[in-house]
């Protein structure tokens, strides 16, 4: 082993460790985005390979999770556009999710949560996942989604209002402002918000 550039191999090693540590989070984000474990894992693997290939563009010391999440969401959206496949909600898979979730307490089932998420538009879904589950700041989430912070805040607020309406009937009264701006027609239209009827 030549030790001409020891720092270079250390950087690679650090990068790999950091990327590996991020994989569980990427899986969680991807699962939330597309709702399907198999598709989500494909997305994560493709993301990891892209990230590895692009590692020169990663600034060591910056947020690996944010960097890879951005790669994943861009990849997800381009897949969505390219294949125009409906991201169908599969109740059997949701049931399995429910079984794997160890800490399901209260009346809300994780399968309900997953189903509700899938009814949000992709923009709102990613927004509420990043802020409400991933623990990112609005600023970080805005960078990941390449939008303004104000846009991110409004997407999260609308996503929260929609989720509250779907999952927490008692919240109806608390969300008058948000629901007025966001007619329930969108929800009644069902599954994929950008879906088109074929035929």
């Amino acid at each position: 082993m030549e030790s001409d550039e020891p720092s270079s191999s250390t950087v690679r090693d650090d990068f790999r460790q950091s990327l590996l540590a991020t994989l569980p989070h990427l899986r969680a984000f991807a699962r939330g985005l597309c709702g399907r474990p198999d598709m989500a894992d494909d997305l994560v693997q493709e993301t990891a390979i892209k990230a590895w290939a692009a590692q020169d563009r990663f600034t060591p010391g910056t947020n690996m999770r944010a960097w890879t999440f951005a790669i994943l969401r861009n990849h997800f959206l381009s897949e969505l556009r390219r294949s125009r496949r409906q991201v169908d909600y599969d109740p059997d898979l949701a049931e399995r999710l429910l079984v794997t979730g160890p800490d399901q307490e209260g009346p809300l089932h994780l399968s309900d949560m997953q189903a509700a998420l899938q009814r949000l538009s992709p923009e709102r879904r990613e927004a509420v996942l990043l802020i409400g589950a991933g623990g990112f700041s609005y600023e970080e989430a805005a960078l990941i989604c390449d939008c303004a912070i104000g846009t991110m805040k409004s997407r999260v607020a609308r996503a929260r209002a929609e989720l509250a309406r779907m999952l927490d009937p008692s919240a109806h009264d608390d969300n008058n402002g948000a629901s007025a701006a966001d007619p329930p027609r969108r929800l009644a239209a069902g599954g994929a918000s950008s879906g088109r009827q074929t035929g």
């Binding site: 191999s9 690679r12 090693d13 790999r16 990327l19 590996l20 994989l23 569980p24 989070h25 899986r27 969680a28 984000f29 699962r31 939330g32 894992d41 693997q45 990891a48 390979i49 590895w52 999710l97 794997t100 979730g101 160890p102 800490d103 399901q104 209260g106 009346p107 809300l108 089932h109 994780l110 309900d112 949560m113 997953q114 509700a116 998420l117 509420v128 996942l129 409400g132 589950a133 991933g134 929260r160 989720l163 509250a164 999952l167 927490d168 919240a171």
Partner: protein
């Protein structure tokens, strides 16, 4: 009616109503907000499936390649 409701409010004023601190407000989040985190965390806590073995090998191998 309105007056009755309002006067009840005034009666409750014996206890000053304060905005709870940020930590307490987090506790008071609706159940679905907790559910969203549970959904996410349940996946984070899963071990990586076998389908990732090839990827992990690839990342390892490439490191020693050059």
């Amino acid at each position: 009616m309105d007056y009755a409701l309002r006067s009840q409010c005034f009666m409750d004023d014996r206890r000053p109503i304060r905005r709870p601190p940020a930590s307490a407000r987090k506790e008071a989040q609706p159940g679905w907000a907790k559910g969203l985190r549970s959904l996410y965390n349940s996946v984070v806590d899963e071990p990586l499936p076998e389908s990732f073995d090839d990827l992990l090998k690839k990342l390892d191998g490439q490191d020693h390649g050059k």
